[in-house]
Symmetry: C2
Subunit: 190 residues, 2 copies
DNA sequence: TATGGAAGTCAACATTCATTGACTTTTTTG
DNA sequence: CAAAAAAGTCAATGAATGTTGACTTCCATA
């Protein structure tokens, strides 16, 4: 219908990049509007304000249905995502966004709660087994740490590396996380 | 000689807590001055401005000589640090500060460079062996991820846990990181 | 063509921020 | 005690922020 949908999309695109790269509080609406080639006032008109625009970008952040699918192995899903440079960049940006805003006074609780409801709680059920909560936390820790070291801290050992090498590093750590406190039994991996 | 040293210390104490909990850009000098019961103008007078005050808090952040000591095992040093609730809280706060400010437009580069010069480069030498750079990155990734999941994201599996349990989780992941590609099995080189 | 509503533009507002300079109080020194 | 230096106080400034309301432009429809 309205032609304003294009404007909305341009704003969401610019806002996603800005919020995810610099964090919520460090991003100004004027900068977003400038990148989107749109007047600042339209943000408050269409999204109700800065917080509404951030929420609009959040809804697409946690869209990862494969991860919690009962038919697929979460490890393989994660490795596959990071093996592809494009999806790797996206996923790493999402994680950085979460970490950067998880303690923001204005959006921190929203980010943590959304992450938990849409991803972590289902993933804990998917992982299952004994101490699922503990192994989930270690699993997430590995993903978060690797992403931060790679994209945010930019350590050469993980940043200046081919995608397949990074995938091998990640697989090593992820499996170590999920196999915590397991009996040292030799099992065949598909 | 001057009595202003007390004021400086109060400011640094308040600034450390504020900067480390809320990040550089989200912290206002007025709030710091209020907590320290000191006039705002004295910050610019004594430290030259906001950036100078932040630098003053940075110098104490990376003081961890044991970690790079040739006489001690970095794994045991880390585990020992996190096994003690008090030093655990301090170290976790430092890591969160690094992650929160590593991409700040104003202090990001300073934080990354200081971290690298004072801790990571010596630690890479200390770790040594083949692929020291890679294993260092994975080592740091585990520490960063665990700290963030525990204190920032607050996942119950790692946050609501006794210190010794957390220490066991950490040891498991850290050793997995440092033992990457150390298979006892003979493998061909491609 | 005229009309009404949607879409977009512009200027202004009230806040908050870091920083500065002039001023006052306190302490040291002669 | 008096002068000087140090330490602390206060108000103001300019810049940047999110948000609002009035205004103008565009376009489909009668």
């Amino acid at each position: 219908m309205g032609n304003s949908d294009i404007t909305r999309d341009k704003l969401i695109a610019a806002a996603t990049q800005a919020f995810w790269e610099q964090g919520y509080s460090n991003t100004s609406l004027r900068k977003i509007a400038q990148v989107a080639s749109v007047d600042v006032a339209l943000i408050s008109r269409y999204f109700g304000g800065k917080l509404g625009l951030f929420k609009a970008t959040l809804t697409t952040a946690f869209d990862w249905p494969e991860l919690i699918s009962p038919d697929k192995d979460p490890v393989e899903v994660v490795i596959g995502k990071y093996a592809n440079p494009e999806s790797d960049a996206h996923q790493t940006s999402v994680i950085r966004m979460i970490v950067m805003n998880a303690n923001d006074p204005q959006v921190g609780e929203l980010v943590r709660q959304t992450l938990r409801n849409t991803l972590l709680d289902p993933l804990e059920v998917r992982i299952g087994g004994p101490q699922a909560s503990t192994r989930l936390a270690m699993f997430v820790a590995v993903l978060v740490g690797a992403s931060m070291v790679r994209q945010s801290l930019q350590l050469p050992g993980m940043a200046a590396v081919e995608p397949d090498v990074y995938a091998r590093q990640l697989r090593h750590l992820v499996e170590a996380a999920l196999h915590f406190d397991e009996e040292p039994e030799v099992s065949e991996q598909g």
